[in-house]
């Protein structure tokens, strides 16, 4: 019997996200200069945080795999990269929706946006690499190597707003954000985080099952039916 914990994570995450979004949309005041457009921050910033955590997770799994050669880490890494792709895509869409009324363009070649796009495309490349290699061990090693190399971009994403004088906002802290904005942001951050953990958990299971299907040799007709 598989544990139900990932479903609990998903349920709690969805509930928190709904609650935080309700707060952000209806209770929190509109921002002084941007008005209602600013409210997208309540999902944009949590997506960004969780995305960075997902990539960091994939990076950790890649290193763990190269040291232990345990295929569990490969499944975990695959899940991390894939959930990372989803979050990065959402991040770019939310950013674009915010940028059109604020900056006047959907996209700008600002260092932060560029570095996120680079990591998104690099993650897609890793998934493409995985789909082209049939040998599971080689696939695991190569995608771990590619993940480690691509993750070098992550510190660039984080520090880009500090290193370059970019259009994108710098990191805020509780000291620089009013408490009226701060509560829904915090609630949503945990909501997206829990959703991410639940998704990675479930996706890891799918990856592990696929791997078993690929590598297992059926001994009976029933097993063959199960694997197919």
């Amino acid at each position: 019997m598989k544990s139900k914990v990932p479903y609990i994570f998903l349920a709690v995450g969805a509930a928190l996200l709904l609650f935080g979004s309700y707060w952000g949309l209806f209770i929190a005041p509109a921002e002084q200069y941007m008005g209602n457009v600013q409210r997208i921050m309540y999902v944009h910033v949590p997506s960004a945080w969780s995305w960075m955590l997902a990539i960091l997770w994939a990076f950790g799994c890649a290193i763990a795999f190269l040291f232990t050669s345990n295929m569990k880490w490969d499944s975990r890494m695959e899940a991390g990269v894939e959930v990372g792709i989803l979050l990065a895509f959402l991040l770019c869409c939310q950013g674009a929706i915010w940028a059109k009324p604020t900056w006047g363009v959907w996209w700008d070649w600002d260092p932060r946006l560029t570095s996120v796009a680079v990591l998104l495309v690099a993650s897609l490349g890793i998934m493409a690499l995985r789909s082209f290699v049939d040998d599971p061990v080689r696939r695991a090693i190569w995608s771990a190597v590619a993940t480690i190399i691509a993750s070098v971009d992550l510190p660039i994403v984080y520090f880009s707003v500090k290193w370059w004088n970019s259009l994108h906002q710098q990191q805020s802290s509780p000291n620089t954000v009013s408490s009226a904005f701060y509560i829904p942001l915090r609630v949503n951050a945990f909501g997206v985080l829990f959703l991410m953990i639940g998704f990675i958990w479930l996706r890891t299971r799918v990856a592990a099952l696929k791997l078993r299907q690929e590598t297992a040799i059926p001994h009976t007709y029933e097993e063959a039916g199960e694997l197919a």
């Binding site: 190569w142 190597v145 590619a146």
Partner: protein, 219 residues
């Protein structure tokens, strides 16, 4: 061991020098084609010349990088190399240095083409050479690693650019900016920051890829 690996690579490159010529022609042709994107506007062509130079070099690099493993994958000669009592890192650095020299040479050969086609000349030749060397190093370190990986896969022509292009964006950006500052003038002294970024990129990838190569080629 490293010097033996490097000598082998350079000898291979020397013996297939007609290929190098073909890659140069490919790069020069792409420079010619890029100019059609702008049209006959001389000022714009000059402004974008450094971007075109690096894009030409990048496109050509996928050919030379893939080729550096191609000959050894035939008849499984690469497995023989791995059986030698030596470190895989020596093999990697031998190949990476050879690719770096080849790309630097190619970049230098494309500069006169750029000067003629886009009227983008400069007198700071030494600085330009340094930028081309650093940029080529940024291309060759991850490029050699990924070429080693993709040479063993079915869809190698597709996968190498797919993996390499997003990765080298920071190096490409820094090279383009530094080159364009050399060509168009640098009144604010910005080129040093871009060259430092390029140097940091090279340092990170030359050490990281060397560490990881052993795992990529092991069986």
């Amino acid at each position: 061991m490293l010097s033996a690996a490097l000598r082998k690579e350079l000898l291979l490159q020397w013996r297939t020098r007609s290929q190098m010529m073909a890659v140069f022609v490919f790069g020069a042709t792409s420079l010619l084609l890029f100019s059609f994107a702008i049209g006959p506007n001389a000022e714009m062509l000059r402004t974008f010349s450094s971007g075109f130079l690096w894009l030409g070099l990048l496109l050509s690099s996928t050919l030379t990088l893939a080729e550096s493993f191609h000959t050894e994958m035939e008849n499984r000669a690469f497995e023989g190399l791995l059986l030698l009592p030596s470190d895989a890192r020596a093999l990697y650095y031998g190949k990476a240095i050879a690719n770096w020299l080849q790309l630097t040479l190619l970049g230098c050969a494309l500069v006169p083409v750029m000067v003629i086609l886009y009227d983008a000349g400069t007198m700071q030749l030494l600085k330009l050479l340094v930028i081309i060397m650093l940029g080529a190093a940024g291309l060759s370190a991850p490029g050699t690693l990924y070429a080693g990986m993709t040479s063993q896969v079915k869809a190698k022509q597709m996968l190498l650019p797919l993996l390499l292009f997003p990765l080298i964006v920071p190096a490409l950006l820094a090279s383009v900016k530094a080159t364009s500052l050399v060509i168009l003038g640098d009144p604010m002294g910005q080129s040093k920051a871009w060259i430092t970024l390029l140097l940091a990129f090279d340092l990170i990838y030359w050490s990281l890829c060397g560490l990881l190569f052993g795992r990529v080629v092991e069986d």
